[in-house]
């Protein structure tokens, strides 16, 4: 069987190795900071039962005698309106937000990537149809569409996840379509086709490797975005319900007491901020690292 020549002719953007990687990291302290923080948050999420001083408070425990206590040695972040330890709830909250983000992005990729490849590689009317549908989805700001969907579905964290996933996949379709179209347009691919190489092989050998790096960058940037969207929807009451220790929900619940008991709102909010910030720094730094044109060095 005639095999197509190995895919060295089409250079894919690569992760710098060894020396270059070290230099890249040194020039990009924000990337390192973001990456380490992100890892830390994931560790906290996994080790929640070990780290939280009052694990029961992340569930439906209530302590009527400890209602709305300010931060102290016993409760570092104070207690909320039913006496639960805010620190423990914040720690357990780290399990929810990243999980939602992962699920959303997996769904978005599973739907978006094949559609994008189909549109970019095959072109023609397939491309037109897919892109028009994508355009309609993209005509709605993500939060809005997710909001509309979450409002009509029964309120739960699952509905929220599905709603966000539905709004997120078009971005990946668009991204992958661009990559697929640029690869498909190269003369090299024509010769592959002429040799009778099946489409799926061309796609896995050439289109996908080229798409990996922009995909990695996009995903790490999107984690922050999904977390913000999810917490916003939970804040509005469209996501997790009490007693789930969702950060957005905690901010919403603490609103009424905010002027006198500031800690109920402040700490969950900081958690959202730090998490989104860390992943955004990571994504932004990765983008700089992998695209030499945009690097910090002149």
């Amino acid at each position: 069987m005639i095999e197509a020549p190995s895919p060295t002719a089409i250079p894919a953007p690569v992760l710098p190795r060894g020396q270059a990687l070290w230099r890249g990291l040194r020039a990009n302290p924000l990337l390192v900071a973001g990456g380490l923080t992100a890892v830390l948050i994931l560790v906290v999420a996994v080790a929640a039962p070990l780290l939280a001083p009052f694990p029961g408070d992340a569930g439906s425990a209530t302590h009527p005698f400890f209602v709305l206590r300010p931060p102290s040695a016993q409760h570092w972040f104070g207690t909320d309106q039913v006496g639960r330890d805010v620190l423990s709830r914040v720690i357990y909250g780290a399990r929810i937000s990243p999980l939602v983000a992962v699920i959303v992005l997996v769904i978005a990729c599973v739907i978006g990537i094949p559609l994008g490849i189909a549109a970019g590689y095959f072109g023609g009317w397939v491309d037109e149809v897919i892109m028009r549908v994508t355009d309609v989805f993209l005509a709605f700001p993500s939060l809005l569409l997710a909001l509309a969907l979450a409002a009509v579905l029964p309120t739960s964290l699952t509905s929220l996840t599905i709603a966000i996933a539905v709004t997120w996949w078009p971005w990946y379709t668009r991204l992958i379509r661009g990559q697929a179209a640029s690869v498909a347009g190269r003369p090299y691919i024509d010769s592959c086709r002429a040799l009778g190489i099946p489409a799926w092989r061309i796609i896995t050998r050439h289109v996908l490797p080229n798409s990996v790096t922009p995909l990695i960058v996009q995903v790490s940037l999107d984690v922050g975005g999904v977390i913000l969207t999810a917490s916003a929807l939970s804040f509005l009451g469209l996501g997790a319900q009490d007693p789930t220790p969702d950060w957005g929900l905690m901010v919403s619940e603490g609103q009424t007491y905010f002027t006198t008991d500031w800690w109920v709102v402040t700490f969950p909010g900081i958690a959202i901020l730090v998490t989104a910030f860390a992943f955004n720094l990571l994504g932004d730094g990765l983008r700089d690292l992998l695209d030499p044109k945009r690097s910090l060095l002149p």
Binding site: A27, P29, L30, R132, V133, D135, V136, F137, A139, F140, P141, S142, L143, L144, L145, L147, A148, L149, A151, V152, L153, P154, G224, L228, S231, A232, F235, L236, G237, L238, G248, V251, S252, Q255, F258, T259, W262, V265, T266, P268, G269, I272, L273, A276, F277, N280, L281, D284, K293, R294, L296, L297, P298
Partner: protein, 338 residues
């Protein structure tokens, strides 16, 4: 030039049609039977059937879609369950305040972000660049609702420098009532010369606008930096330098002119996003816009209202993108000369 505009308008119309269909589909996704909900929990089968006929749900789906389409285009966007008013008129009352808020936020964002982006691009890699970069990313990572609460607490409750809520001081309602002309409070106050009211509105606008401006500011700063850096490595910039222009002029006048194009596109994109962000802050600041309306609609599960707002904002979004396409072709002649 007109050919280009015509093409963009046609494309936009196509997307609008798709958007209307999409909201129709979403409305039908509601689990449960809308007719039963409308008729009430104690309705008899006959009453539910009557409700179904009334709501037009007994007709085939395609007919329903066409009726929906016709309704939208003729201004019938349904009735809000909690205000009992036509959704479109509710939106008409609430939208201007939100549009003012977002416009003010955009102005603040541009005023802050463009200079920061230019400074970043002028000395890339330096400490200032890193700091601006961190702040920009912080801006786009901010949970808006939380920032609103914090700023309200700090500046209003504790420092007492800015008002906590409302569109204007309640007292002015009696001493200097606002003449409703266009529905846009700022414009109305200006054209009727109602200066105390104008001042009050502006002061009340500060906190919510700053909160909404955080995300666009971060985005625009990064964008300006990237665009200007791309541009200054090009030959025409060397030519400008070779003619004797100062670095400052090179960046702010020549490099920036090329950057405005993608920045304008970003502003349109982020306008729609920010309009939705108002949902999160308006209730907190008691700003009488779409956000407050939507927050109330969510609380009462007022589906027609929610979908009406969704449709409205999507239309604004499409219109904004269209406007930007046209503006871009003016700013960058290469587009229309292609």
């Amino acid at each position: 030039m007109t050919g280009y505009v015509a093409r963009r308008v046609a494309l936009a119309a196509l997307v609008v049609a798709g958007v209307i269909i999409a909201t129709f589909v979403i409305a039908r996704v509601v689990p449960g039977d809308p007719a039963a909900t409308w008729a009430g929990p104690h309705a008899s089968a006959a009453q539910v059937a009557a409700a179904r006929r009334f709501l037009g749900l007994d007709r085939p789906p395609l007919v329903q879609l066409l009726a929906y389409f016709g309704g939208i285009l003729s201004g019938n966007w349904g009735l809000s369950i909690h205000t009992h008013q036509p959704v479109l008129s509710d939106i008409g009352t609430a939208a201007p305040a939100s549009l003012e808020l977002v416009t003010a936020a955009m102005i603040i964002a541009l005023a802050v972000a463009v200079p920061l982006g230019l400074v970043s691009a002028r000395w890339p890699g330096g400490l200032v660049d890193q700091a601006i970069r961190a702040v920009s990313i912080l801006g786009v990572s901010m949970p808006i609702f939380w920032m609103a609460l914090i700023l309200q607490l700090v500046f209003s409750q504790r420092l007492h420098v800015l008002p906590a809520a409302g569109e204007y001081s309640p007292g002015l309602l009696f001493s200097h009532p606002l003449a409703q002309r266009t529905g846009f409070s700022l414009i109305d106050a200006t054209i009727s010369g109602n200066w105390p009211m104008l001042g009050s509105i502006l002061v009340h606008l500060v906190l919510p606008a700053v909160v909404v401006a955080a995300y666009p500011a971060g985005l625009i700063a990064r964008m300006v930096r990237a665009q200007v850096l791309d541009t200054v490595s090009e030959t025409h910039i060397q030519m400008i330098r070779a003619l004797g222009f100062s670095e400052r002029t090179v960046y702010s006048r020549f490099a920036m002119k090329l950057a405005w194009n993608p920045v304008a596109a970003a502003v349109a994109l982020v306008f729609g996003y920010s309009l939705v962000n108002t949902f999160l802050v308006e209730a907190i600041f008691d700003w009488p816009g779409l956000g407050s309306y939507t927050a109330a609609s969510i609380a009462t599960l007022d589906t027609p209202a929610i979908l009406g707002v969704t449709l409205f904002i999507a239309l604004v979004y499409v219109a904004a993108n269209l406007a930007v396409d046209i503006i871009q072709s003016v700013l960058d002649p290469r587009i229309r000369l292609r």
